[in-house]
């Protein structure tokens, strides 16, 4: 018999998914994104060990619009993953029941608004 | 020996014969219970529906009703049934129904209008009263599957997706079947001292292969499944059985049935729209919410009724069963079981197994009345092993 268990592709394939399934995909993607950032972050911190010249060069580079755009993405990712995590904790421990969709919409609207405000502030400061 | 047909009757027969120590091969052209068996409304008859006009069927029903509760525990929702009187004429029918039930051994209890509404609040509030009878809801697939599971565990060889394309032997003597494995297209023969035709409404074509006329009329009926449980008990109209006069609660659905006509080809069943409407119209007289409930499915199932050619609605055909030994027509080795209903599958098997055992010279008695069946899941375990 052929085994049809799909593997990791089964997490991310959006075809045929409803809101709950799409939320699952968004959560996995944002989680992986934040994980990659954490790794990059540690990598960048090692620049400190290479002396002040290297670090100053990095700080100058970090002010560029491309990097700022990545920062906005990071902020959005953290908000989406964090707020969705709050939703899952509320639902998963039975604190809230049956309001998963409404919570998702409310929290994600919040995430987008905060990320938008954050983006404005970031570019303003720059 | 070979059984043709993997419906409830074939399964119960395989179980009965396996218990008697007879080697059995059962062939079914599609999946098990894929024909009439799986499609029925899931009513375990008390027999009250037949008590007045067909007492033979009524006695069979109540007898098997009690036996099945014993040997298939857990396969029924033991919810009882109501015969609801809506008009004065229905009360006249009650005066015939109650003594008829008593004569057939069917326990009954008369409920006043208020008592009936307390049990079933969605009944037509204009009802005049109701008669409680020991109907029940069954799982139309899983209950018969338990016969297959137990037969398999006792050594029966069960081959679904295996279609009979001919009978083997010379004129006047059947010695086996020629089959096609539907998955691979491979054709081969299975030998047997006796071939039992348990193909239900498809039985006529098997009979033709042996050159005998099997008086089976495919008598289809339309059933409609509605979303939601409109009742917890089986609700019947208190009158002669007719169209759309029964509502059977089944899990989260309510099944309204049935209509009845006579078809030529049991493979080509239409779902006539006017029959669907009639189910809803008649059903809503019993439970008004039938008219507003969402339709989940509408389908047709072909009953295998015994009758002479020329019947037109199928309702005039008896719901009892019959076993034909075609040796009486000059064809040795071929037996047909037909008629009956889901409720009487074990009894049909007992009658047929008696005929088969007698022909084979086996004197082991029937043991299916007291053998508790394995759960339906055991069928899949046994096959996987």
């Amino acid at each position: 018999m052929m085994n049809e268990r799909r593997g990791v592709a089964g997490w991310f394939d959006p075809r045929g998914r409803r809101l709950g399934g799409l939320a699952f995909i968004v959560n996995r993607l944002s989680g992986l994104g934040v994980l990659v950032y954490l790794y990059l972050h540690l990598l960048i911190l090692t620049q400190l060990a290479r002396g002040p010249v290297a670090w100053d060069a990095f700080v100058a580079f970090a002010g560029s619009p491309v990097v700022l755009a990545f920062d906005v993405l990071l902020l959005a990712g953290l908000l989406v993953h964090g707020l969705n995590g709050v939703r899952l904790a509320l639902l998963g421990f039975g604190v809230v029941t049956g309001r998963g969709t409404a919570l998702f919409v409310a929290l994600m609207t919040g995430a987008v608004l905060i990320a938008a405000v954050g983006a404005l502030r970031l570019f303003e400061v720059a | 020996m070979v059984i043709v047909g993997g419906g409830g009757t074939g399964g119960a027969l395989a179980h009965d014969l396996a218990l008697r120590g007879i080697r059995v091969v059962l062939v079914e052209r599609h999946g098990l219970t894929s024909g009439t068996t799986g499609r029925h409304h899931g009513l375990l008859h008390s027999g009250a529906r037949y008590a007045v006009n067909d007492p033979e069927s009524a006695v069979e029903c109540i007898t098997e009703n009690r036996i099945l509760r014993r040997i298939c525990p857990g396969s029924f929702e033991e919810n009882d049934g109501l015969f609801v009187a809506l008009e004065e004429a229905d009360l006249e029918w009650r005066d015939r129904l109650v003594p008829a039930c008593e004569a057939s051994g069917i326990p009954t209890r008369w409920l006043t209008r208020l008592e009936a509404l307390r049990l079933e609040p969605l009944l037509n509030p204009r009802l005049l009263g109701a008669l409680q009878v020991p109907d029940a809801t069954m799982d139309a697939m899983r209950m018969p599957l338990r016969f297959f599971a137990t037969a398999l565990a006792n050594g029966a060889d069960i081959r679904p997706y295996t279609e009979v394309v001919g009978l083997t032997g010379q004129a006047g003597c059947v010695t086996g079947v020629r089959v096609v494995d539907r998955a691979t297209g491979r054709e081969y023969e299975i030998g047997g001292d006796i071939v039992v035709n348990a193909a239900g409404p498809w039985g006529e074509s098997i009979g033709c292969m042996g050159g005998v006329d099997v008086p089976v009329q495919p008598s289809p009926g339309v059933l409609v499944a509605l979303r939601g449980r409109l009742c917890n008990m089986v609700v019947n109209r208190m009158h002669k059985s007719g169209d759309g006069d029964i509502v059977v609660p089944q899990r989260a659905l309510s099944i309204v049935g049935t209509s009845s006509w006579v078809a030529e080809d049991p493979d080509d069943l239409a779902v006539p729209e006017d029959h669907v409407q009639r189910m809803l119209d008649e059903g809503s007289r019993l439970i008004p919410a039938v008219r507003t409930a969402a339709i989940r499915a509408a389908w047709s199932a072909a009953r295998p009724l015994i009758g002479e050619r020329g019947a037109s609605t199928g309702r005039e055909l008896s719901r009892t069963f019959k076993c034909y030994d075609h040796a009486t027509e000059g064809v040795e080795g071929l037996v047909t079981i037909s008629g009956g209903k889901g409720t009487t599958l074990r009894g049909m098997a007992e009658l047929t197994a008696d005929v088969v055992a007698h022909k084979l010279g086996v004197d082991a008695p029937c043991r299916t009345r007291d053998t508790v069946l394995l759960p339906h899941t055991a069928f899949h375990h046994a096959r996987a092993a």
């Binding site: 018999m1 268990r5 399934g21 039975g94 | 857990g74 139309a140 899990r251 309702r315």
Partner: protein, 267 residues
């Protein structure tokens, strides 16, 4: 043989076949039983009525075009759970999926996911049946007129007769099932909740032990695709959350009890 005359024969005319109004192209995923290469078959199917379902189309193909097409069916009304498959990427029962309700164009039909394919549209649900056995729930209600059945010795348990129809749609829809064969899965966890919520005389301890393990209720990631796919309103996703709340209460109660006895002994 008893004869029975219910009504005049002319009361119900035998219905004729409905006229064919249109055709639909159905793409069917075919997987040979012997493990050969899978392929797509395209078949044009006549649509005889607005009620025509995907299952009707498949049985039409089987009887008119290709008798080797493997598809399971039994009840034709979403009660038996044998005809589960994927239509246009959604996990559905073929018997209640009307062609008219699908989007225009070709209809794609595939077997369910996350379960071994036996052949064509048939998957092996053995693992589900096996896992469901300890979750058996006895009768919903008993007759007040006749005595009911009791399981005999040697019979493992009473069968299940609940909303779950054991169709496997939820397993196909669940994203966790895509990577984790050991996960108990939505159907089993949903059934476990029924046993624990309403034991009806049975001991829920064994069900509890199974669902509190690391492949039990805590493995769910709340996508709720199982409940979306469920054709029988059994709501496995919601039941998993009920289960978690129940398990959490038990754990908190156990901790409080332990602390209570500890303080008691300290005094």
């Amino acid at each position: 043989m008893a004869t029975l005359v219910d009504r005049p024969p002319e009361a119900v005319p035998a219905p004729g076949a409905a006229p064919v109004t249109a055709t639909r192209v159905v793409r069917v995923r075919r997987t040979p039983r012997d493990g050969g290469a899978a392929r797509w078959d395209r078949v044009e199917v006549p649509v005889s009525s607005s009620r025509m379902t995907v299952l009707d189309a498949l049985t039409w193909i089987r009887s008119r075009v290709d008798p080797t097409l493997d598809v399971r069916h039994s009840c034709f009304h979403a009660s038996c759970g044998t005809c589960g498959l994927r239509v246009d990427g959604r996990d559905v029962l073929a018997c209640v999926t009307r062609l008219d309700d699908l989007r225009e164009g070709e209809v794609s039909v595939e077997p369910l996911r996350n379960q071994p394919v036996v052949s064509d549209l048939v998957v092996d649900l053995e693992a589900l049946y096996e896992a469901l056995e300890p979750m058996a729930v006895p009768l919903v209600r008993s007759s007040t007129l006749v005595a009911g059945g009791r399981p005999a010795e040697g019979v493992p348990a009473l069968g299940r007769f609940e909303d779950c129809i054991e169709c496997g749609l939820c397993i196909s829809a669940c994203p966790i099932e895509a990577t984790d064969a050991a996960y108990e899965g939505p159907a089993v966890l949903g059934a476990a909740w029924r046993v624990i919520d309403e034991p009806r005389g049975t001991d829920p301890a064994s069900a509890l032990a199974i669902v509190d393990g690391d492949q039990g209720a805590w493995r769910c990631h709340l996508a709720f695709e199982c409940s979306e796919a469920c054709p029988s309103e059994a709501e496995p996703g919601e039941h998993i959350l009920h289960l978690r709340r129940g398990l959490l209460r038990r754990r908190v109660a156990a901790i409080l009890r332990r602390r209570g006895t500890h303080e008691g002994s300290g005094r």
